[in-house]
Each structure stands twice: as structure tokens, then as C-alpha cells.
Symmetry: C2
Subunit: 466 residues, 2 copies
């Protein structure tokens, strides 16, 4: 008997409570008004203070998920981590997270860390789902943790930082199930964003190349996805066949461009669902070569106009956390997905549905996901939403994640403080023999924090109690 | 219809042609005679010269496998890498290997890098096998690459280095099939060996702790494996139920101790298959606590004596490459497995079988594998050998790997040269803006080598032609 509807049963999102508003950063950096807020499309940026890192965030997300969904840690049979924030080049982040499980005697947990820039979380997720569908599955849950801290050297890339950890529980009969046969990847050898300077936390970035690579692989994956869909379903695929599109989001502007690109792709492929108005606006660009089309500003503008009405319905619901927190690397696409669940299934929405006695579409919602990691690795895949049964229901996931409250209770830091903190972190990166301030005043109860790195580089963490 | 007998269809082994004899290193280091050759149980150590690294070795292993088994690169649907040798903290080694596939237009290849010390290759292998057994399998082959360069700072750990890349092709109806239900892992948070000094290629090692962790997880995994076997098969498991045991091999002496530990474990568990002589020798130690037993020299000696006859038959065939090449981190356990296939299925063995018209046991050979990675992650699992059909047959795998020839054609370097080279590599690690000597005189045709790292840290490779 094959496991059915394997996918995501539960989610928890964690991001640091420390953040800075992008418009304030614009003023501080002396750049033109709107450069970050409109040019990048970002509202706010979260960052780890000196008591948080990818390990503490991962511990917080994992323990919070287990507690809030009342999952016994002994019920976890696989734990995988996606991250590109390297604290140790050999010892996996997963082994740090084992602290949560070994305390109750569960050490029989497969899985390690998956690495390739922002794509590692998707690789971990695929691995975990495949495990449940494989002969080696032992009937227990899988768990995936995406945890990253995105920091950049002073300069134009700095406002594209962010930080978060997301934990996901994997199993059968999931409200968020994989449509495993519709999937297309594009992987190749490119130097668009990489971290070859091992002593520095900051990446080497070719921003323009990275954006082109993102759009090029988006095209390639969308074509592959459509091809596989059409082969299996015997009918054409276009954006009309999915309810939502969720993208890896280095900054929101790229998400706007990406969705517009899919609309243009439907015009190029002459999908029957494309409206006449879109064909009129974009038809003139279909003779451009791929390379020309990535650089063409007129096309970019026209396709964003043509895409606008669909964007608001199919993409915008999955942008909240990303605009408020920033780039979260491996966690970015799952934060976007969490935004969608929050926007569509939180209690306020449910109350409104109840008031107007609107029958929810109980089933059949397709979400197309696009995951991108520089270097490069990209996959388009799709998920199928159904309400599910508590505690593993979409409404409960929205309730547990409690996104509004988490965003509301953050503390904005002044840009001077932020810069000062970045300097401290630069100094400490890869370092040993220091203690942190242990200042947990800004952290919510239940949050893990770093207390010390000893003379042998061993890291020690504690949990804030109520 | 579920895929049957998923496992390893083909293998290729690559190790650098540059090496140093351990007895010469003993003299050079001024240590007591036999410290490395008997104390560690090692004969020789391979190392990358300044034109080789984990990427070039990976490229060599992958292209050689595809060519020698005549596999079309378009037939690969997943490619995963296990490694703990970090050249870039974000860009995966897998993306470098994509060069082999993108040239023929195949970019739709899932998988990234798996990381946790020496365990990453096993994680990659499990992921690849699970993929073939999952709903997302598209019918193509998977490929796993384990590639590592183990180097240590001057001192007692230096002779435990080594380097290699192993490529494995994964698919159905494999001559080396997974017994997926018999598997037990032990993972926990320990600082026995780690790489927190990001600017250095060398690890931080607590040798004594690491050996205890290895033996402790071996016990834990063996108990878990036996328990699962007994639950499913309804009969007791002991070492008599497996034909071969293959271990991750940091140095051969630990493999000897490990197998002896399993014999002791059978005595403790009072397995019915244990011979009276072993019970007499080891019975007195069964009351020791776990911790005491790891440190007890009398037990170590007595259990190695009791295990000796089984070791020669069940373990020794899987030790050749590891004793000759050294620790290969993620590749180590698969080099041990390759040694077993070489010893049991190479043409000379086949000729002898033919001469004496001995009927080979065509089927039913169980190989128990123990994979260990510091930090820590460990799994015991088992494989089932059957001859298979060419090119994916055990005899052909032995022929392609051509281990004797590869060992015979190496070049021994003087210890002064070796130390000089280590200094050059220390200096270059994490560096940029240099060209290599491009000296390929020692490399076999078909070997990839590093030519340059440019001012943007971009790495360039070439392939030695005949």
C-alpha cells in the first residue's frame, strides 16, 4: 500500500524580533527615496542580533512546532536541514538540532544538511517527501528545517538581507500535498552568487547576472513543467490552471518581474487561455531572443501591466513575510508560502467566510512553487491544498504561525545600531572564545539564544523561559 | 508497480596518483617503527597535488563512469554529492559537475550536496535510492558522487589523511540492492571532529572522543539493526547472518576494533550462533558498563582474538583501497565496499573459479555496512549482492574499477615533497588569483585538473587528453 498525499502536515515560522525599516535605511544610506521600498519592493528587514544565529533559530522553530502541534519528538524519523549559512564546514546544523530529540532517547533519525545557496531547503523537502514514499520509510514523520541569516557587506546589496527559520512536518494525508509528477528542474554551473571567501560571512554577488539566471531558469522550469503537465494530463497548461504562484523572493521586485515573465511565456506559447488584451500588449515582443527579452525594459513594463490583475490574486497573497523580513535564503520560498496560508486561512478570513456563509472551495487549490538557488539550482513544482483535519489543517497552521502577532511585536532598531551590530558579527564570524550579552529582553519566551563560544569553538545555547 | 531491487548499478573509483608510504613517513616524522603501519594499520596515503581537488576528482569519476559503462548523460535524472571538503560555502560541488551534463542539453537533474562529515555520501546515496522509489521518479538513473580530500595539520593526525572520489549509478534491478527495511541510525550532538576554523582546511579533532563515539554508535546501530531484523524476520541476527561487513575506515585499526566489537556484542546478546570459545574468552567482560567496555584494553585484545577468523573472511576483503589510500571521508566506506567487489569479483578470481569449476554462490550475499560521520551521524544498513547483467554486473564493476592497475601505477613522493606540497595547499586554501603548474605528467589520460583560480575566485578545469 503506497503512502497517499504525502506533503506538509504542519509549519512553524520564526524570524528575529529585531528589524529595520527600509525607508529609514534609505535615508541613512543617502540613496534616492524609494530605492529600497519601490526599487526592491521591500518594506522592512529582520536580522539576527548577537544572541541569535541559524542554530538558535532552528532550535526555536523545531521545538515550537513540536509543542504547538503536540507532536511527540519520538515520532520523528527523519530530520533534514537546508541552509547556506555555514557555521561549521563539517558538523551539520542537523546534529545541533538533535539536542531536542536525544533528550527523550530518540537518536534514530536519518537526514543531514542539504546545501546549494537558497535551494537547500527545497532539496531537503524533496528528500523528506521521497523518504516517506520509499521502502525505507518506517512510518514516522519527517521534519524539514530551513534556516538562514542573509547579511551583506556595506553597499547596494545590504538592504537585501534578512533572517528566518521555518520548520515543516512531513507525512501522509497532508493538507499540503505534493503533485510529484509535475516537476521540472534546471541546474547548471554559473558564478552568479557564491561564498568562496571562507573567512567572511558575506557572499560574492553579480547582481545583474543572478537576476538573468533567475529569469532564465524560471523560463526553463516553466516550459518543463508545462511539458510534463501536458504529457500527463493531455491538455495545455497556463497560469489559469493554478490558483497561486509562490516564488523564491530575494526581493519583491524580482517576484513581480517573474510572474510577468510567466504571463509573457503563456503568450509566446500561445496558450488558449491568454486574454486578447495581453496578446496585444505582448505579441510584439515574441520575436525577441531569450537573451534580448531578459534585458528589454519595454517588455518588462508591458508584461507587468498585463500581469497586474493576476498578480494581485495569484501572487500578492504570498508576499507579506518576505516584504517584511527580507531575503531568508532557503526559508524564503517557504516564508512566501506561509504568507499565502496566513492570508487565506487565518481566523479573520475564516470568520468573514462564516459571516457571509460563503462555501470555501474545500479542495483543488493548486499552488505552483518556484525555488531558485544561485550556482545554480532551480525547480518548479506544485502543491495541492485541502483543508485537512486538526491539528494538521490549513486553518490551524495559519493559527499556529500567528504571523500578524509576530510581525507586530518586533522592535525596530536605528540604522546606527544595525551597522554597529553588523560590525560585531563580522568580527565574531568564525571566531572563538567569547560570551554574548545574553540579553534576551527582545526575545519571546521559548526562543533559543547563543550564550558562549568557548576556546574550542564549541557553541552553547539556552532557551528563554517565560 | 513499485521499482524492484533499487540500488547500485555501477561504480567508478578515482584516487590521486600521488602518494607516500606510511613506513617512510614514520622515519621522516621520527616516530616509533610501526606507529602508522601497525598502530593505525595503514600502508600508504594518497593526496591531491596542486592540480587536483574535490571538484576535479568528482569530474574525473563522473565522466569515467559514464564512458566506461556507456551511459548517455541524458539518462541521468538526479545527481547528488556527498562531501565535507568545502571550497565554496554556498555553491554546491554538484553545480560544478553539471558541466558534464549541460553540454549535451541535460539540465533537468535534481539533487544538491549533502553535508555531515564522512556521512554525507551515505545521506546522498539514501536520497538517491529513495528518489527512485518515490512518486517523483521519472524513470532515469540517479548518480551519487562522494569526493573528499582529507588533510591534517602537522602532528599525530597527519598520517590519517587521504583523498578520493567515487561515483555510483543508481537504478532498479541492481546487482547491489538495498535491504531498505533493515536499517538503524544513531545521530546526536557531539564535538568529536569538526571544522569551525573557516579559513583553514584542517579540522579540530578530539581523537580519543571520536573513537569512542564511533564505537558507541556502532553498538547502538548494531542493536537497532538486529532489533529491526528480528522483528521483521522473526529470528535472531548475528554476524553469522551476513557474509561481509564493511566499515567507514578513518584508519584500518579502528575497523579491526569495530568488527571485534560486533563479536563482543553477539556474546553480550547471547546470540545462539556464537561459538563456545568466543563465549569463554569474552564472557568475563559482559558485566562491564558501556563506557568501561570502550576503554578496556583486555576486552579489546580478547575480542580481536575471538574475531580474527571471521575478520579474515568477512572484513579483510573490504580493506585494500583504504589501507593503500587512507581516509577518504565520504568516499571511505564506498572505497571499502569497492575493495570487496574488487577482491571477490575481479577477473583473476573469476578465472580461478573457472579453472576449479567452482559454482559461485549466485545470490544471497549480504553485506552489512556501517557509515559514520563525526558530529555525529551513523547508520548501519545492508546490501544484497547478485551477479547482475553486463554492463551492470559485479564482474564488470570490478573490471571497470581496475583497482590493482590504479594502485600499481601511482607515484611515491618523498616526505619532503609531501610537506612542501601541504604548505602550498595551506597557502592557497580559500585563495584567489593564482594559476597552477598545469603539470599533468603524473595524471592518467581522462583526468580533470585545476588550471586557474581567477581574481573573482572562479575556478577553471581542463581534462588531460591521451
Amino acid at each position: 500500500m503506497c503512502p497517499q498525499n504525502v506533503g506538509i502536515l504542519a509549519m512553524e515560522v520564526y524570524f528575529p524580533p529585531t528589524c529595520i525599516q527600509q525607508d529609514i535605511l534609505e535615508d541613512f544610506d543617502g540613496v534616492s527615496k524609494g530605492k529600497y521600498t519601490i526599487g526592491l519592493g521591500q518594506d522592512c528587514m529582520a536580522f539576527c542580533s548577537e544572541v541569535e544565529d541559524v542554530i538558535s533559530m532552528g532550535l526555536t522553530a523545531v521545538t515550537s512546532l513540536l509543542e504547538k502541534y503536540e507532536v511527540d519528538p519520538r515520532q520523528i524519523g527523519r530530520l533534514e536541514v537546508g541552509s547556506e549559512t555555514v557555521i561549521d564546514k563539517s558538523k551539520s546544523i542537523k546534529t545541533f538540532l538533535m539536542n531536542v530529540f536525544q533528550d527523550c532517547g530518540n537518536t534514530d533519525i536519518e537526514g543531514v544538511d542539504s546545501t546549494n545557496a537558497c535551494y537547500g531547503g527545497t532539496a531537503a523537502l524533496f528528500n523528506c517527501v521521497n523518504w516517506v514514499e520509499s521502502n525505507s520509510w518506517d512510518g514516522r514523520y519527517g521534519m524539514v528545517v530551513c534556516t538562514d541569516s542573509a547579511v551583506y557587506a556595506e553597499g547596494p546589496a545590504r538592504p537585501t538581507g534578512g533572517a528566518a527559520a521555518i520548520a515543516m512536518l512531513i507525512g501522509t494525508d497532508a493538507p499540503i500535498a505534493f503533485e510529484s509528477k509535475f516537476r521540472a528542474s534546471h541546474m547548471s554551473h554559473v558564478y552568479d552568487f557564491y561564498k568562496p571567501d571562507l573567512a567572511s560571512e558575506y557572499p560574492v554577488v553579480d547582481g545583474k547576472l543572478s537576476q538573468t539566471c533567475y529569469l532564465m531558469t524560471l523560463d526553463s522550469c516553466y516550459n518543463g513543467y508545462c511539458h510534463k503537465y501536458e504529457k500527463l494530463e493531455g491538455k495545455q497548461f497556463s497560469i489559469a490552471d493554478a490558483d497561486y504562484f509562490v516564488f523564491h523572493s530575494p526581493y519583491n521586485k524580482l517576484v513581480q518581474k517573474s510572474f510577468a515573465r510567466l504571463v509573457f511565456s503563456d503568450v509566446v506559447r500561445n496558450a488558449s487561455s491568454v486574454e486578447e488584451s495581453a496578446k496585444e500588449k505582448l505579441g510584439q515582443f515574441t520575436s525577441l531572443t531569450g537573451d534580448e527579452s531578459y534585458q528589454n525594459r519595454d517588455l518588462e513594463k508591458a508584461s507587468q501591466q498585463a500581469a497586474k490583475q493576476y498578480y494581485d490574486k495569484k501572487v500578492q497573497p504570498g508576499t507579506l513575510i518576505n516584504k517584511q523580513v527580507g531575503n531568508m535564503y532557503t526559508a524564503s520560498i517557504y516564508a512566501a508560502f506561509a504568507s499565502l496560508i496566513h492570508n487565506k486561512y487565518s481566523s479573520l478570513v475564516n470568520v468573514l467566510f462564516d459571516i457571509f456563509t460563503v462555501q470555501r472551495d474545500p479542495d483543488g487549490n493548486r499552488v505552483v512553487m518556484f525555488s531558485y538557488g544561485s550556482g545554480l539550482s532551480a525547480t518548479m513544482f506544485s502543491l495541492h491544498l485541502s483543508e485537512g483535519k486538526p491539528p494538521f489543517s490549513l486553518s490551524n497552521i495559519a493559527k499556529v504561525m500567528n504571523v500578524d502577532e509576530k510581525l507586530k511585536t518586533r522592535t525596530e532598531l536605528a540604522p546606527e545600531k544595525f551597522v554597529q551590530l553588523m560590525k560585531v558579527m563580522e568580527h565574531r564570524y568564525g571566531g572563538k572564545d567569547f560570551v554574548t550579552s545574553k540579553d534576551t529582553s527582545l526575545l519571546a519566551p521559548g526562543t533559543y539564544y547563543l550564550t558562549e563560544v568557548d576556546s574550542k569553538y564549541r557553541r552553547f545555547y539556552a532557551k528563554k523561559t517565560s
